[in-house]
């Protein structure tokens, strides 16, 4: 009896794991850092696009779709943050606040003032960007630990304000009943539709970021990280660049927050704290800083990781803490993405096994 079920399990698994396997062969290695900025890389990118488009159809599990929707939202967040952190070399522990600003803006505009979600989407990005601009000016003069602390402080102030302004934000309870995201009458109400929505946004922002990074602005970001004195000596206004990247990354976070609100249908302050900011930073680090695939890959990986940890209930957070530390000790430059995808595969394999054993498959 046991033998039979084992065989059955393996066949099914192969089928589900082929796309991940394929992905592992074509995701860039950490050393490919420079080649990916060249033309030869184009072919690979079509494979990625194909994988993204096809993935949810190959694996029709709704839970998986939901997971990938979240991964997509976090990917948008991480993508923006990676421009600030990975390219311009600054630190922010407060990006969850921009995410929250985006989510609340959408929540308030759609529930209180009946704005269409698409308008709220752009408004969210704008509000987050404006907030970043306001605090960026004074804060970005700081470096290292102090910048980290200042951004952390901002994140905490945001939470305090949200909790206290009951009439606007619903305080600790939050806002309910946020409508599904809809575009010209088409409503994104299933996980599958939401998947294509979020990853469509990821794609758009990814292309935008990639163009940016390839242009003189991208070089300006890297110059600020490489040597501020050298950057100034070629005429780059370092303060302006830092503020610009900060605002841009906040706008991305605003987009992500807006989608998040529409998908979760609620917005409450607990989701937007230091823990979440840490998670996003971790996604950027883990994926490998200095390239744009890193944050996307990192967000997929960590979203899956968190989902798997969720099975462990109250042990999930302590284990998460330990895993964070271990990952930082062993993969400070990010998981060589080839290796990392293999890890996803293993983790996915193991998770399916657990599910199987619990009699759910």
């Amino acid at each position: 009896m046991v033998k039979q079920t084992k065989k059955e399990f393996r066949k099914r698994d192969f089928f589900y794991l082929i796309p991940l396997w394929g992905l592992s062969l074509i995701v860039p290695d950490a050393d490919d850092l420079y080649s990916y900025r060249s033309k030869e890389f184009r072919k690979r990118e079509f494979y990625y696009l194909g994988a993204v488009l096809v993935l949810p159809l190959i694996w029709p599990d709704p839970h998986f779709h939901h997971l990938m929707v979240l991964a997509g939202i976090y990917a948008i967040l991480a993508l923006g943050l990676s421009l600030f952190l990975g390219y311009a070399g600054q630190i922010s522990l407060g990006h969850a606040a921009f995410f929250g600003i985006g989510a609340y803006t959408t929540a308030i505009l759609t529930t209180r003032y009946a704005f269409p979600t698409i308008v709220a989407f752009w408004a969210s990005a704008l509000t987050a960007a404006a907030a970043a601009f306001l605090i960026g000016k004074p804060i970005l003069k700081l470096k290292g630990y102090f910048l980290a602390l200042a951004t952390l402080g901002f994140g905490e102030i945001f939470l305090v304000i949200v909790r206290e302004t009951q009439t606007l934000t619903g305080g600790v309870i939050g806002i309910f009943g946020i409508p599904w995201f809809s575009l010209a009458g088409f409503s994104f109400d299933t996980y599958l539709k939401q998947y294509y929505l979020t990853w469509g946004v990821v794609l758009g922002l990814f292309i935008f970021s990639k163009n940016l990074v390839r242009s003189k602005l991208g070089r300006a970001f890297l110059a600020v990280a490489g040597s501020e004195d050298a950057a100034r000596s070629v005429g780059i206004d370092v303060a302006q660049v830092k503020t610009g990247v900060f605002v841009l990354s906040a706008a991305f976070a605003g987009f992500a927050g807006s989608l998040f609100a529409c998908i979760m249908s609620t917005a409450n302050p607990e989701a937007f704290g230091l823990g979440f900011s840490t998670l996003i930073v971790m996604m950027v680090i883990l994926g490998g800083m200095g390239n744009l695939y890193g944050p996307i890959f990192g967000s997929i990986l960590l979203t899956c990781l968190i989902d798997i940890l969720g099975r462990y209930q109250e042990w999930s957070l302590p284990i998460y803490g330990v895993i964070l530390i271990l990952l930082l000790i062993f993969f400070p430059d990010g998981i060589g993405t080839r290796l990392g995808i293999r890890l996803i595969y293993l983790v996915g394999y193991w998770a399916k096994k657990k599910k199987r054993d619990a009699g759910k498959l």
Partner: protein, 296 residues
């Protein structure tokens, strides 16, 4: 609506709170002086001090003083373990990685505490009875006297240790001139190791002192750590005297703020102070040996 009449009372509670912030700040500064690292898990030392003592007292029925002593020792050991398992492997890592790693440690410690000791807030009995004292028209909880007194005592002990004992002097040397101390044969890693222990011990004491007044639960550590850090920056980052001054200053500012703004915003006050200080005078009140004036 400014409640002027409450000010003396607020000053008093602010001073007590300030003593705790001062101790937490001191814990931060001790580690930073030895290793240039900011330990985001500092607050967990404080939390564990209170929580472990509670467990030993109520769960194992040990006498109060003994429970406290053992708890402090346990937390010191945890501090050592933290250095060995997290800080030492990452000793060459970038600032960013160290920040996230200590945050990870903080997550681990606070949630493990929730698992082991439960999530309910814990309160320890006050050291000397429940009766509040009335002095000069304000009510002072007797525990506050203990807090201030013990803080003062701890400071004296620390001062003596760092200036009169060989180990203490070695730690001071490493803080002031890491390269020089290294050349003299003082092991940098061992100094960091010790710093973590000392810092954990200070934190644990703070936790035991404060739990009779405010409840402690598994997640009290994070906010306390942040405020302790803000206090250290306020007073003058990197200086022990700065940590103490900043602690009291922040405690009083935070307490007094309640008279002027809705109490829900109280936690935000500390962060507002942080942003103001970092913008106008990053060196802090007493100035900082760490911040290069040219770059700021």
């Amino acid at each position: 609506m400014v409640a002027w009449s409450s000010i003396p009372q607020l000053l008093s509670s602010g001073t007590t709170l300030g003593a705790i912030y001062a101790l937490v700040a001191l814990g931060f500064v001790t580690i930073t002086r030895a290793s240039q690292i900011i330990n985001f898990a500092q607050g967990e030392f404080v939390m564990l001090g209170g929580v472990v003592t509670f467990f030993l007292l109520k769960g194992l029925n040990l006498p109060y003083a003994l429970a406290a002593l053992i708890a402090v020792m346990i937390v010191i050991v945890i501090g050592f373990l933290l250095q060995v398992t997290v800080i030492y492997p990452l000793r060459k890592a970038s600032v960013l990685i160290l920040i996230i790693a200590t945050l990870g440690a903080s997550i681990f410690l606070s949630n493990t505490s929730a698992l082991v000791f439960g999530t309910l807030p814990k309160a320890l009995p006050p050291f000397s009875g429940e009766q509040p004292l009335r002095m000069w028209g304000i009510t002072v909880v007797s525990q506050s006297i203990w807090v201030l007194g013990t803080t003062f005592l701890l400071l004296i002990v620390l001062f003596l240790l760092s200036h009169r004992t060989p180990l203490g002097k070695a730690m001071e040397a490493t803080s002031t001139d890491p390269l020089g101390a290294d050349l003299l044969g003082i092991s940098r890693n061992f100094m960091v190791f010790l710093a973590f222990g000392v810092s954990a011990g200070i934190g644990a004491c703070a936790g035991i002192l404060i739990t009779p007044i405010f409840f402690t639960s598994y997640n009290s550590g994070t906010l306390l750590a942040l405020k302790g850090f803000i206090a250290a920056v306020l007073g003058g980052w990197g200086k022990n005297s700065g940590a103490i001054l900043g602690g009291f200053a922040l405690g009083i500012i935070e307490s007094l703020s309640v008279a002027f703004i809705p109490s829900g915003y109280k936690d935000g006050v500390a962060f507002a102070v942080l942003l103001l200080i970092l913008y106008f005078r990053p060196k802090g009140i007493l100035g900082s040996p760490f911040i290069d004036s040219r770059r700021w």
